[in-house]
Symmetry: C2
Subunit: 204 residues, 2 copies
């Protein structure tokens, strides 16, 4: 056997209420070769958050050392807190041929595409605007003003859907998960991701 | 409901012995939205060939009238016989959102991509060169010289695999069919093929 082909960096964004966390959880269940990138942050863990699962929680000192060592694919500072995407785990997984999911908001997604042009990007949409509004109301955790604000944000985010490679609609969860799995499967079959495999076919 | 998004033209090529006819037959069985483009020819039907299934058999006069009326996506003349890809059925199916498979050799595939840049192209490969050689021998229909010649042709065709968007390996038939179905599913989810759907989401 010759060299193996590399894996993919899969950027996923979605407006709040589109169920992206559930979709990503199902993707990981459905395919062992799908890993999720875990962000690093200097903010304190919230109740129920687990280090190494929800985030890597770290100190400002350590975070800044990581910046200095070029250890992040991208990072931002919101207020006093840093948030970053560590490079190392992503690169290790991709070198092993695995797909790494990076859940990130629209702005960050644009930055990742600039730094890592081979990344593929998927935007998850609700089946309709009225359905999104209904889902946000059904959560029961937000005030009508919050919901209005979230819908306004969703609108501006959906306008930027054109920056993404693929659009997936989360109407039926399992169809949505199958859509993303099909995208990952198809992307692995692109000529550029098959070069080593082709080499092996010719030489065997 | 607003406008529906268009279907895809899917160009498939493969060296002899890679099982492309079986793969295409399975694709059509698996998905009602997958149609196959049927070529038109002026050559006489061979035993067992059915008009409208294997080819549309027609006269030179009718074929040339079709050329004059710009009725072919592409056509060639081999010796005294014309072979062409009629436009009309392809356009009708694509406008209805269906995917149309066009089985065509490497040279013709290049021409189709020039005329129809939105076409997606898939090259089917054997799992290995030695396996292709074994398959050709097992057919029992060709002389050792024929097999040598076919393997040489396969080699030059595989060199042109880089002109295709996707590479699919036919080792296990059902995995190969699922690969092609994933490609078609993913291509339908590309932003450009989702514009009308997105429009409908925003307005509902």
């Amino acid at each position: 056997m010759g060299l193996k082909d590399k894996g993919l960096l899969v950027v996923i964004s979605a407006p709040a209420g589109c169920g992206k966390d559930t979709v990503i959880a199902e993707l990981k269940k459905a395919d062992d070769n799908v890993k999720q990138s875990i962000s690093m942050t200097t903010r304190a863990p919230r109740e129920g958050e687990v280090d190494g699962v929800d985030y890597y929680f770290t100190t400002v000192e350590n975070f800044e050392k990581n910046i200095f060592n070029n250890g992040f694919l991208e990072y931002v500072k919101y207020g006093i807190n840093y948030y970053g995407t560590p490079k190392k785990a992503i690169e290790e997984n991709i070198n092993e041929g695995k797909s790494v999911i990076l859940k990130i908001e629209v702005e960050g997604a644009g930055n990742v595409r600039k730094i890592y042009p081979d990344a593929i990007s998927i935007f998850i949409m609700p089946p309709s605007f009225s359905e999104l509004s209904r889902r946000l109301k059904n959560r029961g955790t937000e005030t009508p003003e919050d919901i209005e604000r979230r819908l306004k944000i969703a609108e501006t985010e959906i306008e930027r859907a054109k920056e993404y490679d693929y659009i997936v609609i989360n109407d039926d969860l399992s169809a949505c998960v199958d859509d993303v799995l099909s995208i990952i499967r198809a992307e692995h079959l692109k000529y550029n991701n098959m070069k080593n495999t082709i080499e092996n076919i010719i030489n065997n």
